[in-house]
């Protein structure tokens, strides 16, 4: 009896599934790109009414909340429809499902920060086939998947900035160390290599990089590594920590130690994490790109693509509202600009 009933429920289910999948099989040809006007802005104007969706790595992450709000401000300026969707955990597979959803909804522009450069590639391609323009920001996919990548900063820009910040504070001479994330973090390693090259310049000849420590982007480990650096190198003048977790942990250690105000710390951090350490004098300055500007630029870049002003080719130019004019570089990349430096004078203007 039971076997029969289960057989029946299995059959019912599969029938339900197949009908559901088949019943609408003729509507697949719909072009969902009907959001904006068909006439491309030959005049170089951004079309009104574009639907722009932001898909961050993770929602409710303060960094992405700020960048997406930057995007929202831009979308309001060019009178589009803004929305933010995304997974609550930063995984590539859940981003795929959101990309699929946006494809079905017929978004004109999708601005996505990729949790995995490859895993969302297929879904991005499908979205583009469905008529959407896809701009990556903050974290790129493979370059053949998306239309454009809005890069927050170049590795070279970071290296120059970080070395300059530390050099200015230690008077251009002395031993420094780097506190990085994990030993195989691609970004970090690229930056560190360029910092080493930067340090070879004559104006930095009196600065010696003694070691690179790895805090694994773990608060406690970074804290202990900082402690270790200071006991192994008693004459250490400064630490660069180009990772938000590392720089905050190092600042916390320094602020409670005898080295406060004596050993210089700078790096890449967020104003909210670093505010108290800037105010109590542990840290003079640190840097990061402005995520709000990043989202703002991504929205304008997507809208320029969807309006036919640009196609993503190297050398094309477009105007991004208050940020001014941008030119597309090699591999369809647009760079936001040099990092923003935060110190006591401006830190309270930022909330992320």
């Amino acid at each position: 009896m039971r076997a029969i009933r289960n057989g029946v429920s299995l059959l019912t289910l599969s029938a339900l599934l197949l009908t559901a999948a088949a019943c609408a099989s003729d509507d697949g040809g719909d072009t969902p790109a009907a959001g904006g006007d068909a006439s491309a802005g030959a005049s170089g104007e951004i079309k009104e009414g574009l639907s722009v969706a932001f898909l961050p790595k993770q929602v409710n992450n303060p960094y992405f909340t700020v960048s997406d709000n930057g995007g929202k401000a831009a979308v309001e300026e060019f009178k589009g429809e803004y929305k933010e969707v995304g997974p609550s955990e930063a995984s590539a597979s859940s981003q795929v499902s959101y990309l699929n959803t946006l494809t079905q909804q017929g978004s004109d522009v999708i601005a996505v920060s990729a949790n995995d450069p490859n895993a969302i590639c297929g879904a991005v391609k499908q979205a583009r086939q469905g008529g959407a323009k896809v701009v990556t920001f903050d974290s790129d996919t493979n370059k053949d998947c998306r239309d454009l990548f809005v890069n927050q900063v170049t590795a070279q820009g970071i290296a120059e900035n970080q070395v300059k910040l530390i050099s200015d504070q230690i008077g251009g001479a002395g031993k420094i160390a780097i506190l990085s994330a994990t030993a195989n973090a691609t970004n970090q390693n690229a930056w560190i290599e360029l910092m080493k090259t930067e340090l070879k310049k004559s104006e930095y000849s009196k600065i010696e990089l003694v070691t690179v420590a790895y805090g694994n982007d773990d608060d406690q480990k970074s804290f202990q590594e900082t402690q270790g650096l200071l006991s192994s190198y008693p004459d250490l003048k400064g630490i660069i920590s180009p990772t938000t977790v590392g720089v905050a942990a190092a600042a916390r250690y320094l602020s409670g130690s005898q080295y406060k105000g004596k050993v210089v710390l700078t790096g890449l951090g967020t104003p909210n994490q670093m505010r108290e350490f800037v105010k109590d004098g542990t840290v003079k300055n640190f840097a990061l790109w402005n995520p709000a500007d990043l989202g703002y630029l991504a929205a304008y870049a997507g809208a320029a693509l969807a309006s036919g002003i640009i196609t993503g080719k190297e050398g094309e130019k477009f105007t991004a509202g208050k940020l001014g004019e941008y030119t597309i570089g090699p591999d369809s990349v647009v760079v936001l600009g040099p990092p923003t430096v935060f110190d006591a004078s401006n830190i309270d203007q930022f909330d992320f």
Binding site: S9, L10, L16, L17, A21, E89, S97, N118
Partner: protein, 322 residues
Amino acid sequence: MVRKRLGTWDVLVVAVLALVVVASSVLVDGFATSRFWGFLLLDVIPIALIALPMTLVIITGEIDLSVASVLGLSSAVMGQLWLSGTPLPLILPLVVLLGVACGAVNGLFVTGFGLPSLAVTIGTLALYRGLSYVVLGDRAVADFPFSWTGTFIEPLPGTTVPWVALVVLGLAVVFGVVLHATPIGRALFAMGNNDQAATFSGISVAKTKFWLFVVTGAVASLAGFFWTMRYASARADNGAGLELAVVAAVLLGGVSIFGGRGTLGGVLAGVLLLITLRNALQLADVPADTLTVVTGTLLIISVVGPNAASMLRDRLRRRRPA
């Protein structure tokens, strides 16, 4: 009596699923499209696949929480093997062997040392996930040939139904027949109801449970292979947290967390209900946090519901003959 109650829960889940499908077709733009169902089935495949052996495991009164970590470890090992030049047709059986080994470790601890499966598999959940980071670190291996990755999301000609979904359906029939129409299946229910009674009636409880864990490991590694192909990316964190979706779907499908009760048809309906609801709400722009709340509530209802219903029934029944 028990059987009758089960039947009603099955029917209820299928009815709710039908209701969700009908309501969403009317209310949610883009729901009643073949494309939606194509995407949905791709999301369903790994969960449905692992839910099959998980159903059997939970019916015997055990649980395997390490499945998502086995999936992740398989993915990481796949990536490493591919980097070292192993061809994919050889990687597939190797990965399944790995799943078998992971399952055997679980099975050995549970049946050999008589430890509770909840504790053992929480341990191996962490262990296997840790191992996957040892194998691949935070790298992603993504240069699998498109001739493979594309094939795994390929729909059946003329439809949007991925062919892999049919394979899963075929496996579901096999598991369904084993569970509901063979002496092995009856033994699984007996174990879930009462281990000792099952032992005295001549069933080798330990041996059966051991092999169930092995099968679960093997299926989880198959799911890992599919996952890696579908997302074209081998990563140590692949499928993290998936075990909860699987257990939620199994319980939603009417399988008792205490063992001894449940049907495979109900579980498939549970998987479909969970994913359909999630994707429909997502399509309706419901934020991710609300989605988590909905899934959590569904899980609570699915655990409390059948128990509350049976208590109510017992009380009514006791009153009637008096």
